[in-house]
């Protein structure tokens, strides 16, 4: 029996680890109906989910140069009792509670990104505004288990109406983090939670 062409393409795609990519045009963008942002430049948005350790189960993942080089992961409207991201490889993740302190939310993030054995180190966490609401911002590093690459990361978030909104940017500490951060900062500053 001959393999159907679309099936072959899907299988090839799965083997190659690729995902469907959609261009995010500059301008007003809405993520999951509730988070709006103003993009100054175009981004690439991944349509398919994949067990990327910095963003498993994210609402959306955006990138400039490719997800292993820079990843902007959106976790939008995480509800009480749900996990931040999804568990991979049979691991268990803690659940979000709306009473959590920003410090505890950083721990949720840490547990999500270290599921694959990657190492997380918090560099700074401070109060801040996100989406027009009181929130928090943290900076961190992740030593990626798969290839030992040191990533730098920055995330901003807020808990609004008992739901967690978190956007995390990660990129290799060498070159890519500094290259893309100037585009990420104004993008996140433009965020509004409906």
């Amino acid at each position: 029996m001959r393999l159907k062409p679309w099936l072959a393409a899907a299988a090839l795609c799965a083997l190659a680890g690729c995902a469907q990519i959609v261009k995010v045009e500059p301008g007003q963008v809405t993520v999951k109906d509730t988070l709006t942002l103003k993009a100054d430049i175009a981004w690439n948005r991944f349509e398919l989910q994949f067990p990327l350790s910095v963003a498993p189960g994210a609402s959306e993942v955006w990138t400039q140069d490719g997800i292993t080089l820079d990843a902007l992961a959106f976790f939008v409207g995480v509800e009480q009792g749900k996990t931040l991201g999804t568990a991979i490889g049979g691991k268990k993740l803690p659940v979000f509670r709306s009473t959590m302190t920003p410090g505890e939310i950083v721990e949720l993030y840490e547990q999500m990104v270290t599921q694959d054995g990657s190492a997380f180190a918090l560099k700074r966490v401070a109060p801040g505004r996100f989406g027009g609401q009181p929130g928090f911002r943290f900076e961190h590093t992740i030593t990626r288990k798969s290839d030992g690459v040191l990533l730098k990361g920055m995330a901003q978030g807020a808990v609004v109406k008992d739901k967690l909104y978190l956007v995390a940017f990660t990129a290799p500490a060498i070159y890519y983090y500094d290259r893309h951060l100037p585009q990420v900062e104004p993008l996140l500053a433009s965020a509004q939670i409906k």
């Binding site: 680890g17 049979g90 691991k91 268990k92 993740l93 803690p94 509670r97 009473t99 302190t101 920003p102 410090g103 505890e104 950083v106 721990e107 840490e110 547990q111 270290t114 054995g117 190492a119 918090l122 560099k123 700074r124 966490v125 401070a126 109060p127 009181p134 928090f136 030593t143 288990k145 798969s146 290839d147 030992g148 690459v149 040191l150």
Partner: protein, 394 residues
């Protein structure tokens, strides 16, 4: 896969128990020094593969690059290996699971989860001695030559190399796959245990500690099972119902023999040498979210040093992170107990503040946060904690 090299075939000493141990059972004449096999031979191929893995390991970000600790573990391994010491290279790896392995080319890996779990130098020597036993008997080469495992080995090496090209698996994972493909047989495990005990005794370590290593692992297993944790999927030891009990008993029986001059446990020295890394290892341990196992481990550590504020703090962290009904109270109790102990980290005040605030006791919570800032004014979360105190962050 994780615990495979040391743990596979752990039921192997059952036969020895039934047969009884002969007096000369532990006389181990060491083989002469090994030389590098011919490049064209099967063993040469295995070495070449391992050399390549070793190169990766050397560059790994997960290597613990602490010369003092490395030299300490290396020295123990060296004394156990005697004349074979120059053939070995020891690597300490930050991975919070119980494991040590030794490749046929002399590359030995010791994981941080093992270092944390061993109560003293003699227990570490028991595990290292066992691995050196496999090495001295060249068990992995025997496995390679076994027709049945050869095909799976070829496939596994192929897989590992293929994956390496894709860059999606790290060096350690690949070595794990490879060692898994060369899983030792029961007789080999039995032999490695026997040699391990012989080397321990010869080096002056109390052989009784070898059996205790198994006893401790079994306790953690029971703890995980009682906590309803998925024991089958997490590691090989727990998955295959090996009679680890027998192994513990036989090693304990071996320890009852007369071992003149073999009494060293080295608990204080071991603890002192690991001190600098202990907080990090404990942090990694609780982040595994294997709370049942961790609690058993921490209770054991507290039993041997009841004033250990670091372990007491992390016991509280287990309850806080587990967050089941009733855990908030247990976490608060653990933190409060830790306050009066030795070497309690400043973070205990932060966790205490977090839990108190959730319990509605904001006055005491603020005092705890303030104390945290006094002790760690430059903490990475100082701004956030200050905002809790000033009330600008709810």
């Amino acid at each position: 896969m994780r615990r495979r090299p040391f743990l596979l075939g752990c039921g192997c000493l059952a036969f020895a128990a039934a047969a009884g141990l002969r007096a000369d059972e532990y006389d181990y004449p060491m083989p002469p020094r090994f030389t590098r096999p011919e490049a064209g031979s099967d063993e040469g191929g295995l070495w070449a593969f391992m050399d390549r893995e070793e190169q990766r390991l050397k560059r790994s970000s997960f290597l613990i690059r602490d010369k003092a600790l490395h030299d300490y573990v290396n020295d123990i391994a060296c004394r156990l290996a005697g004349d074979h010491c120059p053939e070995m290279r020891v690597y300490l790896v930050r991975t919070p699971y119980f494991n040590a392995s030794m490749a046929p080319n002399g590359m030995m890996q010791v994981w941080s989860g093992l270092l944390l779990r061993m109560q003293n130098e003699a227990q570490l020597a028991a595990v290292l001695g066992h691995e050196i036993g496999h090495y001295l008997q060249r068990h992995s080469v025997e496995r390679l030559r076994d027709a049945k495992s050869r095909s799976s080995f070829a496939m596994i090496v192929g897989m590992a190399l293929g994956v390496a090209g894709g860059g999606s698996l790290g060096a350690l994972a690949q070595t794990g796959i490879l060692m898994g493909g060369l899983a030792y047989g029961r007789d080999q495990e039995r032999e490695a245990d026997r040699i391990g005990v012989a080397l321990m005794a010869k080096t002056g370590y109390a052989p009784a500690e070898a059996g205790r290593v198994w006893g401790q692992l079994l306790e953690e297993y029971e703890g995980a099972k009682a906590a309803g944790e998925d024991v089958a999927s997490s590691n090989i030891l727990f998955a295959s119902h090996p009679p680890a009990e027998e192994r513990r008993e036989v090693l304990a029986a071996a320890a009852k023999r007369d071992w003149p001059g073999a009494a060293r446990t080295g608990a204080d020295e071991y603890r002192a040498r690991l001190a600098q890394h202990r907080m990090g290892f404990l942090h990694d341990e609780v982040r595994r979210r294997r709370f049942g196992e961790s609690l058993v481990l921490f209770e054991r550590m507290l039993k041997s040093s009841p004033r250990d504020g670091q372990v007491q703090f992390f016991k509280g962290e287990v309850y806080r992170l587990r967050a089941r009904e009733g855990d908030a109270r247990l976490a608060l109790d653990a933190y409060r107990n830790a306050l009066g102990m030795d070497n309690t980290p400043p973070e205990v005040h932060r966790s205490l503040g977090t839990m108190l605030r959730q319990a509605g006791d904001s006055a005491e919570a603020m005092r705890a946060f303030q104390r945290y800032l006094e002790l760690k004014p430059d903490a990475e979360d100082a701004e956030l904690i200050r905002s809790y105190i000033s009330g600008s962050q709810s």
